[in-house]
């Protein structure tokens, strides 16, 4: 006996409804939030990132070495393991992720605790802490833009995001006298986090071999501690000393709202 066409159509609809993944409706869009650090057993693995779920109270934690992603559900007071197959790039170039958060029951779940600005939990593999980036142990001593970009996502993304004024960059690119810039900054300093990526982008974009940058990270007690900053009247961070032909010309004003490329271009133009 041949089934009626209406029955066939109904069965097809039913099977497609059953087979289709309901996850599309539960895709959680997660945007990277570089104000946070992901600490795993006291270390800060490269590529580990904290993401804010759009319009939800959920966050996603990506630790590349882990076989699963982790979904932090603040309302549910738990952290759930999310199989990697349920996590995809958003594909818009922003680094955002699409997480299918209708996680089947039976997966791993961990309780978390909060102490002031730090959230922590213990997985099967290790102890994870989510903390503000400024609370990470600081970089001290001589460093480079490349090292900062590798180790500090907030600097890497800040450098990437800043668009300096093109005419000022043109001035910096063409400057012919030898310029030495000593920049003393601190990875624990909120103002440095805002200002330094802009300044570093300016130095990168200038691409002028005559402009040499010496970058130094300062510890919290730098006023008492000895280091490359000692004896140079470095009393606050960031302090950026501009030397032309070996002579200190000025210190850049890194106050809020300062535009490093126009200021530096102005300094160099004044000393021709």
């Amino acid at each position: 006996m041949k089934p009626a066409p209406a029955t066939v159509a109904f069965l097809m609809l039913l099977s497609s409804a059953l087979l289709a993944s309901p996850a599309d409706a539960s895709d959680l869009i997660c945007h990277p939030d570089y104000d946070w650090s992901v600490e795993v057993d006291g270390a800060y693995p490269q590529g580990a990132c904290f993401y804010k779920g759009e319009g939800t109270k959920k966050w996603f934690i990506d630790i590349p070495a882990y076989k699963d992603g982790l979904l932090l559900d603040l309302e549910g007071r738990r952290v759930l393991a999310v199989p990697r197959g349920r996590v995809n790039q958003a594909g818009d170039g922003s680094g955002s992720l699409m997480v299918k958060d209708n996680i089947p029951p039976g997966g791993s779940a961990f309780a978390f605790s909060v102490e002031g600005p730090v959230l922590q939990f213990q997985t099967e593999e290790s102890k994870v802490r989510i903390l503000p980036v400024l609370q990470r142990p600081p970089i001290t001593g001589s460093t480079t833009i490349g090292e900062l970009e590798t180790d500090r996502p907030e600097y890497r993304e800040g450098i990437k995001a800043y668009v300096p004024d093109a005419p000022s960059i043109a001035v910096l690119s063409k400057y012919s006298k030898p310029v030495e810039i000593e920049a003393y900054f601190a990875t624990w300093c909120g103002h440095c986090k805002q200002y330094m990526p802009k300044f570093l982008r300016v130095v990168k974009d200038a691409k002028n071999p005559k402009i040499k940058l010496d970058l130094f990270g300062l510890p919290k007690n730098f006023a008492q501690a000895q280091g490359p900053w000692s004896g140079k009247n470095v009393t606050s961070v960031p302090t950026i000393i501009v030397k032309i032909e070996g002579r200190e010309i000025t210190r850049m004003g890194s106050h809020e709202g300062a535009v490093p490329e126009t200021e530096l271009a102005g300094i160099l133009q004044a000393v021709k």
Partner: protein, 232 residues
């Protein structure tokens, strides 16, 4: 100078002071320092050229007074004392009352009709279409309660999405996130960017696309108020 007591001396001192400022500014400019003087805080970022022009203007005013003194006798005696007292009292009353006076349109940049670009927020407020932007101090314990009200508002049918802007520190933001547990996005900006937009926090504005269509101070607006607003 206002009271007319010792006008000559006051005008002369002011002129000398201005000459001193001018000399220092010109010296700094010649030495390559081009950062703004910061005399007017976050409200007005002057270039060195403008700083010099302003000082020249003040110097001109001082010289005008000196010139005028030769032609008109100053006010003296009890009247002058009363004038000083009245001025001092008025200044004090103004300083005390100013937080409650409707001065925001005069002293902040935030106004209906302005674009995000004009407010210095171009590209910094995520989302599209209609959004309620909340300027928040995350260190203020009351902000936790405000966040709950904003979330309730955002969950109403047809209500705009909520975005918070703050210049609070990372640590304050972290504590706030774990305690208030907000679903809306919090964007951290330099204080220099936000300060020109408010005198007191919290403050809210409604965006239609990239343009401000309404302002709210103090308590968050009601969903019905937001829904009844038409675009400009």
């Amino acid at each position: 100078m206002l009271a007319g007591i010792g006008s000559g001396l006051a005008a002369l001192s002011s002129c000398l002071l201005m000459l001193g400022f001018l000399a220092l500014k010109i010296h700094s400019l010649l030495a390559g320092r081009t950062d703004p003087c910061g005399c007017f805080g976050a409200y007005l970022q002057t270039s060195p050229g403008w700083g010099i022009a302003i000082d020249v203007g003040f110097l001109g005013a001082g010289l005008t007074i000196l010139w005028g003194l030769g032609r008109r006798a100053g006010r003296r005696g009890r009247g002058a004392v009363l004038l000083i007292l009245a001025t001092a009292l008025l200044s004090l009353a103004f300083a005390i009352a100013s937080p409650r006076l409707p001065l925001d349109p005069l002293v902040t940049r935030l106004a209906v009709g302005k674009s995000l670009e004009e407010l210095g927020l171009g590209g910094r407020v995520p989302g599209q279409g209609r959004r309620l932007v909340a300027l928040l101090d995350l260190a203020d314990p009351k902000t936790v309660e405000i966040a709950a009200r904003l979330e309730a508002l955002a969950s109403e049918r047809g209500a705009p999405a909520v975005v918070a802007l703050t210049s609070s520190s990372d640590e304050e933001k972290a504590s706030f996130v774990w305690s208030a547990n907000p679903a809306f996005a919090i964007v951290k900006l330099d204080r220099a960017v936000l300060k020109p937009l408010y005198r007191g926090l919290p403050r809210y504005f409604l965006l239609e696309g990239e343009r401000v269509i309404a302002l709210f101070d103090g308590a968050p607006p009601n969903a019905s108020d937001l829904l009844s607003l038409r675009s400009l």
